[in-house]
């Protein structure tokens, strides 16, 4: 069911695509979103397309509507949503809204796939039989 949602596109940044980060080879530091310089050494960083595959490192649920502005309620009104940090195989932990079927299914370590779109990164469960436990 579902499966990883990977949309292929040649557009470099905004529209739904892989995550565009950057990497400093000297420090072995990968960051998201992309930055021209490395936050560790201040030297130049090179653009890096991130795989988006990772596991949930931590999470919470936003139980009440955030103050508006800056928050924009979705058309159907506010409903509690999950968010967290997904640890990608590149070693960076990326903040993302978690698009899960139910808030009860969230577990640290669950496999997730992160995609970039118009808003903040979003993560969906990666369904692979051997990793379900």
């Amino acid at each position: 069911m579902g499966g990883a949602l990977i949309r292929m596109t040649t557009l470099p940044r905004r529209p739904a695509a892989g995550l565009q980060g950057s990497h400093c080879s000297g420090c072995s530091v990968t960051v998201y979103p992309a930055d021209e310089s490395c936050p560790r050494c201040g030297g130049p960083a090179t653009p890096a397309a991130l795989s988006g595959a990772g596991t949930l490192w931590t999470w919470t649920v936003q139980r009440y509507a955030p103050k508006s502005p800056p928050y924009k309620e979705p058309p159907g009104g506010f409903t509690p949503f999950a968010l967290g940090y997904v640890e990608l195989k590149e070693g960076v932990r990326v903040a993302a809204v978690l698009d899960v079927d139910g808030l009860d299914e969230i577990r640290i370590g669950m496999p997730l796939t992160v995609t970039a779109g118009d808003g903040v990164p979003r993560a969906r469960p990666t369904h692979t039989r051997e990793e379900d436990s």
Binding site: T58, V61, P70, K72, Y85, V92, V94, V120
Partner: protein, 381 residues
Amino acid sequence: MSGDVLICGAGRTPFGRSEASGRQLAVSAVGAALADAGIEWSRVGAAFGGSDSAGLADTLVTQLGLTGLPFVNVKNGCATGGSALISAVNAIRSGMADVVLAVGFDKHPRGAFDPRPEDWGLGKEYGSDGLMVTTQFFGMKIQRYMYDHGITPHTLALIAEKAYRNGARTPEAWRRKPVSAAEILDSGMVSDPLTRYMFCSPGAGAAALVLCSPEVARTLDTPAVTLRSAAVRTRRFGSFEVFSPWIPGGELTSVSRDASAAAFEEAGIGPGDVDVCQLQDTESGAEVMHLAECGFCEDGEQERLIAAGATEIGGQLPVNTDGGCIANGEPIGASGLRQVYEIVQQLRGAAGERQVPGAPRVGFTHVYGAPGVSACTVLSR
């Protein structure tokens, strides 16, 4: 450059909601600190102070008196009070003045803080999609910590329960009604795993300290407390902070760990020597983690220590004896100096119903805040 610096006067206002302006509260706290020291305003040779959102401290001279003293504004987030204090210490050590004031005050609107993404170097989408909420960070940091170190929600509830119990014994606290652990767990989830009653609220209040040289202290009647050290640090690479679109992999660094280690090193003593301490408790999870980050226990030990009452007023290491931020609320600029005020009362044996038994000799304070700053002090009598 060293040399003892003493705290000869400490004052605070009640914290909470107030009809008074932040500046009026500040004037009141300064007056209380001067009266405590038995020193006239005209004797103060320099002043440092600030608020996050209630105005400029140097304008207080209109009410305090136009004596011509140098008065420096400090704006350093949650470390505003701590940074003012360190500036005051350095003013005395450098010989700039022998009586110096540090003051912090604030007055915030109701509800959570509402920062703007552009002020934090973030894209607009972090605001419009609902990720600019401080409580999310607190929830996510303790969520991972509980997973790594076996801390339970019951322990989070016990910390808030203690805060309200100690607040009930503190005349100036905001939340003065005891609340049971069961009520705290049932008070409604805000940002999992943290419930409503586990959080402090932004509020109003002010605190002030009068510092002096040993020569001045000898001429005063009030028992002075020695400020053994004061240290401020900003984050290093690898820390987990509020409003971060990403954090580095690997083990986390901690600015609280860095600042507390610096304060202990300067004081020449360790966490094991501390008899009473004040730790930043914006919510229950923060107190759990700061106990370890400041060196008072190993990661995970909190589960046993808190259940055994170790951090209660009668325990082996009383923590947040005045109810901390949870019972006092958080007027950002005043919070750090409120902690020092409380330690001064405890070391003088003047803390009334909440006095730590056994005549404590050494105290410690710790604040932490965005965007990764911490200030710590070690005090003794």
